[in-house]
């Protein structure tokens, strides 16, 4: 797997957050994503999109993220759950 560029990683974190695979940023605190969390999110996205589950930002995954799509998140419930847990 070729290493993705910093820009690709930034875009993919934005994409994964927007479509519900990563928790939405909390404006009251700085947030540092762990590598494990990011890999889990990528793997979940790959499973949802029918791609091979590598957990890495491979070419197929990046190509899928660039495909035209609906604006709504894929995992509404999961993102909401994370937010609820943090509030508690």
């Amino acid at each position: 797997v070729q290493d993705p560029s910093a820009q690709d990683i930034s875009l993919s974190v934005d994409w994964l957050t927007r479509y519900g695979y990563l928790p939405a940023p909390d404006p009251t605190q700085a947030q540092l994503q762990s590598q494990v969390l990011l890999r889990d999110a990528i793997q979940t996205m790959q499973r949802f999109a029918g791609l091979k589950e590598t957990g890495f930002m491979d070419q197929q995954t990046m190509a899928m993220m660039r495909k035209p799509r609906c604006s709504l998140p894929d995992l509404v419930g999961a993102a909401g759950l994370v937010r609820r847990r943090r509030r508690r």
């Binding site: 999109a49 495909k67 604006s71 894929d74």
Partner: protein
């Protein structure tokens, strides 16, 4: 399917197109008619009724449709051509519930093939699924997959995939057995098309993929290629066809002579990814799409007897060896030793339940083995040489995005015997 958690508490809903796309070639009547058909696709399945209302009606429509650009005051800005295409709000009591927004800056089209723009009808069906309470689905053939999947076909004949039908019926129950009247608007006429291209162009009509009977089928880098005459279709790992229209063999496989009008079998060589297309007693070897300079090879180079040809080829991931089938026998080729294993050919009946003279055999992306013949396929679990109990099954609905035929038997159908008696090896079992 996945449910959003909300639904309408009534079965009769109103809709209105409040703003239209200014840049696309679709006129307002076409847009309204496409919306009506897209809603009807759901209404038929769930027994829902959709009524278009005029502007200024006593109550605003439940499903208000807009073509907007960039920031449009709902927290989901559009991003110009490509990227996000549309969105809709789930059912509820808020004024915006059910409303559906399309990015006005997309090149919205109707009745065109892939590449000409974004098919408004396909996107509208998807968005109305949200407006009725469905969330995104990961099912391969679902219209509720979040990614644009290309044109959905003729609106008046469109039928929702089973996953989406079940999702809607989970919310609203089944529609009446007698189908509701279809939309009453005059039939849609696609916008004027560019003049027809000369014969031999990619737009020349190809064969019907849904009738089966492929010459060759191969798993090439995770995509399944279905070859028929001088055409082929590609099925992506996601289960989506690259295009419902076939591509032309000679426009893709560069260097393949025009005299080759059909492929008998194909596979991707595991040791270096070269793609091998079998044509009678020869093999054409490609690196990606380019023909290798030293090809074609005679089949004898693989160790097969002179004058032999093959019906099917595939590499079994369990042992990395390549199996070559002809009639009711097969050989095993050792890719690392580059020779046939001793003791072959062996009878095909060792693959218990497999059809004789298969059209082709592939190894699926999850390790299952699939034999294809006619319009049926036989599945073998990973590592197994016994056909799964639900085999054979019709291949069209599961592989090629074809409607289920009413002639398909419910389970374990018995395909017809070979047409000419000489082709039969006369074993008397359920598939021969």
């Amino acid at each position: 399917y996945a449910l959003s958690g909300s639904m309408w508490n009534r079965r009769s809903l109103t809709w209105r197109v409040r703003s239209f796309p200014r840049a696309s070639g679709l006129n307002t009547d076409t847009v309204r008619t496409l919306m009506q058909y897209a809603l009807a696709a759901w209404g038929t399945v769930g027994g829902l009724e959709f009524r278009e209302v005029e502007a200024g009606a006593a109550a605003e429509a439940d499903i208000l449709i807009d073509f907007s650009r960039a920031y449009h005051e709902d927290g989901y800005p559009f991003d110009g051509p490509g990227g996000t295409l549309a969105h809709a709000f789930f059912p509820g009591e808020h004024p915006i519930s059910g409303d559906t927004h399309f990015d006005e800056e997309e090149a919205w089209t109707f009745g065109e093939d892939d590449g000409g723009g974004t098919d408004l009808f396909a996107v509208a069906v998807h968005e109305f699924g949200h407006a009725l309470g469905l969330a995104h689905s990961s099912a391969p053939n679902s219209i509720m997959r979040p990614f644009y999947q290309g044109p959905a076909g003729e609106p008046s004949r469109y039928r929702l995939p089973p996953d989406d039908q079940e999702g809607l019926q989970q919310l609203y129950g089944k529609g009446p057995k007698t189908p509701k009247p279809r939309p009453s608007r005059k039939p849609l006429i696609p916008p004027p098309q560019p003049p027809r291209q000369p014969p031999g162009s990619p737009s020349e009509p190809g064969p019907d993929r849904c009738v089966g009977g492929f010459d060759a089928i191969a798993n090439i880098r995770g995509e399944i290629f279905f070859f028929k005459g001088p055409w082929f279709w590609r099925l992506q790992p996601s289960g989506q066809l690259v295009s419902p229209r076939p591509a032309q063999l000679h426009r893709f496989w560069e260097g393949l002579p025009s005299t080759v009008q059909a492929i008998d079998a194909a596979y991707a060589r595991p040791r270096d990814g070269r793609i091998m297309l079998f044509d009678g007693p020869r093999v054409w070897v490609f690196q990606d799409r380019q023909l290798e300079s030293d090809s074609p090879w005679p089949l004898t180079k693989l160790g097969l007897p002179a004058g032999e040809r093959v019906d099917a080829v595939f590499t079994w991931p369990q042992n990395g060896k390549t199996y070559l089938f002809r009639g009711s026998q097969y050989w095993r080729y050792d890719e690392s030793a580059r020779s046939l294993d001793p003791g072959y050919p062996k009878p095909l009946s060792l693959w218990e339940g497999a059809p004789p003279a298969p059209d082709d055999v592939i190894s699926g992306n999850k390790g299952d083995t699939y034999f294809f013949k006619g319009s049926y396929y036989w599945r073998f679990d990973p590592g197994s040489v016994v056909a799964a109990t639900d085999s054979p099954r019709p291949m069209g609905p599961e592989w090629l995005d074809c409607p289920s035929s009413s002639q398909d038997p419910p389970s374990n159908p018995k395909p017809r015997a070979p047409q000419s008696p000489g082709d039969c090896d006369c074993h008397c079992n359920i598939i021969a």
